[in-house]
Symmetry: C2
Subunit: 483 residues, 2 copies
């Protein structure tokens, strides 16, 4: 079995003590020396445990003074560890996905409170508009001919440089540009698995990837997933023993929908496990650059020296989805990835690639990330308060470490697809939990988006969702107690 | 058996008489009345036969005078009717395709004389550059959010209107926008056929579609194809009787690489045949708008009232490939096409869609087509002369009815992949014939592009290809006669 590391355990122990009130806000936590003595650990382990506690947003170091418990807006219960089905399944739920992604937001459509759209009104995005238009002031006809199949070379160079921030060493030729991260995931899955094969995924999991699995005739093995530490390596190992799993697909950094970032130690362990069972890892890093911590967490690919990890990412979440600029760093599968790219779309639109390359190269990208992550973190806290105050007692809420998505677990038997039916009358819509599961689990869960600015109108909408969920609970409770 | 229609036969008869010199340039052809008497046919049939002869570019009507034989630059022999393998095959040849599409044209690369790139220097394309840049002068953030999954609604509207020129009645909701025509073809094939299934194709056939077939694990049944009338309906019917064919894929208008347009009567027959055997037709119409005749020929889809034809097209050949704006009109398969589109790339880049929609709406598209078709037709004649003059005796040349691609069939055993090896030393490259066949046939054929302006440098390059081909022939001849 894969063991979690010692410092993770110590960090968890300290977190529990904080949660229990052993230490409260502003208290000084045990010094490194005290902790070493108490737990019989090395200074390095104690330091790592505190680093982890800081990552968890529970403590901060003050220079030459020690670690102190941070104020937390209101501690909320985290979602429970998921317990998906114990066998490979076929994916369904296309109707729910289509309802959310089928049409552009418009006046005719319910307000989508759970969509995956980032903030598009940031001032730091403005240079991108200028770059997109500037490219055609004095056009060179070759600009819109067939570009390199692997993608616009200057963009591949920028992507390779960017990868150093997630600890990856990539050459521009290790990168294949795609039409959004969705094409990157589709390429990875199509080349690694044939119809009927089994792919292991974290659960809940991004619905778009689940639909690719379905369309390609793949079976999905959903692995229990911890809302703070990610996919259970223990359960994954059991599954690898039991089933002919061809690939592992995870979103380990700023996970969608749960918001966690897997600790580095567990990312390393996952790579080791994949090596032991000789399977590939498809790493969806689309939200990774939106981590609230700086520098951003390392990607799983950072720990991969065999080319076994296929990193899939893009700018749909960090910049704008409509650019459709994504990429895959397919490691040892590069030649096949290039073929899959060719037969999928030939190439991706040139102009957005040129604009994004220039945007990164001129430093606008990192500037935007800094601004937008601060904003998302603030809005996360506000949205968490609204949900905490207006949703039924017993509601559990994720604590995202980045990105702009909140996962909400409602108490008891409240059914979110049915909740959406009631919300439709008020022209509201949330992302219902079953979209995120092959087997339609998570019927009592929903996803919310906090990228939008926290206006009074948004607050009223969120509170209304909470109220209706509360009403459904009472109704269902009274139904349950009928003779 | 499917019979060709009577007027096609009459037109062929007249064409043969012209080729044989029975009628020479400027001669008046038999009047309608004379032809009716001679052949025992109706006036309508005789009129249709002359319409066909005009389509073939062999005759022109003078008002109140009759039909006259048109001057032809130099009559060249057409390529022979193809005779591909008589059984379903797996596709290979990726290395040849990659050599041509892998990298953008650059100073490091041989000059690609057979690429599929259109003319990008046309003055009539200039408004497109202005539109692409103008979109971002005063950007609306929603412009680059997630658009409708089926594609930008104003573009779908323009595509539906455009379809009337090819005789199709489409509603904007019948159209799904794709990332280039390649994604349209991939979507069609993935949803119609499962790995191991057989798809019938015209032959030679577009290498991009062949590679999709390969990647999806499909088998290809190559059907003999006439360089003037297209896929042999007779051979196709035999194949449909013998093999479990799931779909028929053809490029019936301004075919790539042969340049023919199937006569309307045969397009109708093909739809009837597909109905009788209950298979779908994937119609690649990417070159259709570049027909030299006006109005452009009808699409096969124009004759389909069951939603059995999936029309795939886009602007990569008529405008610019780098826009990656394509579409599919998937008929009765619309819901599945939408799902395949979602799992393939999520959506296509928004900005090029907006620019193309505006370009069509403002009339720039039709204006550009008129100009560019005239230019391509002129350049076709020039290129045909160069090839006719410099290639070995016995070379056969296609007579494209539209588009910008010439198919050249070399005499005897000249091997075009080997020719390319010799051309590489001179930094030249042609599209070798085997790319266009699942079984690697057409080794003595090659494709040339005449979209480029006919400069002295281009002429020298083409003549050099002809010279080298001639040398290879002599070498191979002398090899063959060695004791």
């Amino acid at each position: 079995m894969t063991a979690s590391t010692r410092y993770d355990d110590i960090a968890d122990l300290l977190a529990r003590r904080i949660a229990q009130g052993t230490y409260t806000v502003g208290d000084r936590l045990p010094s490194i020396r005290e902790l070493c003595r108490e737990q019989g650990i090395s200074v390095t382990t104690a330091q790592s445990a505190y680093a982890r506690l800081e990552e968890m947003g529970l403590a901060a170091a003050r220079p030459r003074s020690g670690h102190y418990v941070l104020p937390r807006p209101r501690p909320r219960d985290l979602p429970t560890v998921s317990r998906p089905a114990q066998r490979p399944l076929e994916v369904a739920q296309w109707d729910q996905v289509l309802a959310m992604v089928g049409s552009a937001p418009s006046a005719d459509q319910p307000r989508r409170l759970g969509a995956g759209t980032p903030a598009l009104d940031a001032a730091t995005l403005k240079p991108l508009g200028r770059l997109l238009s500037g490219l055609h002031r004095d056009p060179d006809p070759r600009d819109l001919g067939y570009d390199s199949l692997a993608g616009h070379p200057p963009l591949r160079q920028q992507v390779a440089r960017l990868a150093t921030t997630s600890g990856c060493l990539l050459h521009p030729d290790d990168v294949v540009i795609t039409t959004g991260c969705q094409e990157a995931l589709a390429i990875a899955l199509r080349m690694l698995a044939a119809p009927g094969d089994v792919v292991a995924v974290d659960s809940p999991s991004f619905y778009g990837a689940m639909q690719i699995l379905e369309a390609h005739g793949l079976k999905v093995m959903e692995i229990p997933t911890d809302p703070r530490r990610g996919i259970s390596l223990e359960a994954l190992e059991l599954a690898l023993d039991q089933w002919p799993i061809r690939a592992i697909q995870v979103t380990p950094t700023c996970n969608n929908p749960l918001g966690y970032t897997m600790p580095e130690s567990r990312k390393r362990e996952l790579v080791k496990l994949a090596r032991r069972y000789d399977v590939a890892i498809i790493e969806d890093d689309i939200y990774g650059d939106l981590a609230f911590e700086s520098p951003r967490p390392k990607a799983i690919k950072a720990f991969d020296d065999e080319g076994r990890v296929l990193l899939c990412s893009g700018v749909s979440k960090s910049l704008m989805p409509g650019l459709r600029v994504g990429w895959i760093a397919p490691g040892r599968y590069r030649d096949r990835a290039l073929h899959e790219k060719y037969v999928s779309t030939g190439a991706s639109a040139t102009q957005p690639q040129r604009a994004v390359a220039a945007f990164i190269e001129k430093g606008h990208y990192q500037r935007h990330l800094r601004e937008i992550a601060r904003r998302y973190q603030r809005q996360r806290d506000i949205m968490t308060d609204w949900v905490g105050e207006s949703f039924p007692d017993g509601t559990r809420i994720s604590q995202p470490r980045g990105g702009f998505l909140l996962w909400v677990e409602l108490p008891g038997p409240i059914d979110t697809p049915r909740l959406n039916e009631r919300l439709a009358a008020e022209r509201l819509h949330v992302a219902p939990g079953p979209m995120f599961s092959a087997s339609g689990k998570y019927r009592h869960c929903l996803r919310l988006n906090y990228a939008e600015r926290p206006t009074a109108s948004l607050e009223a909408a969120i509170r209304r969702v909470g109220e209706l969920a509360g009403e459904m609970r009472e109704y269902q409770d009274s139904e349950a107690t009928l003779p």
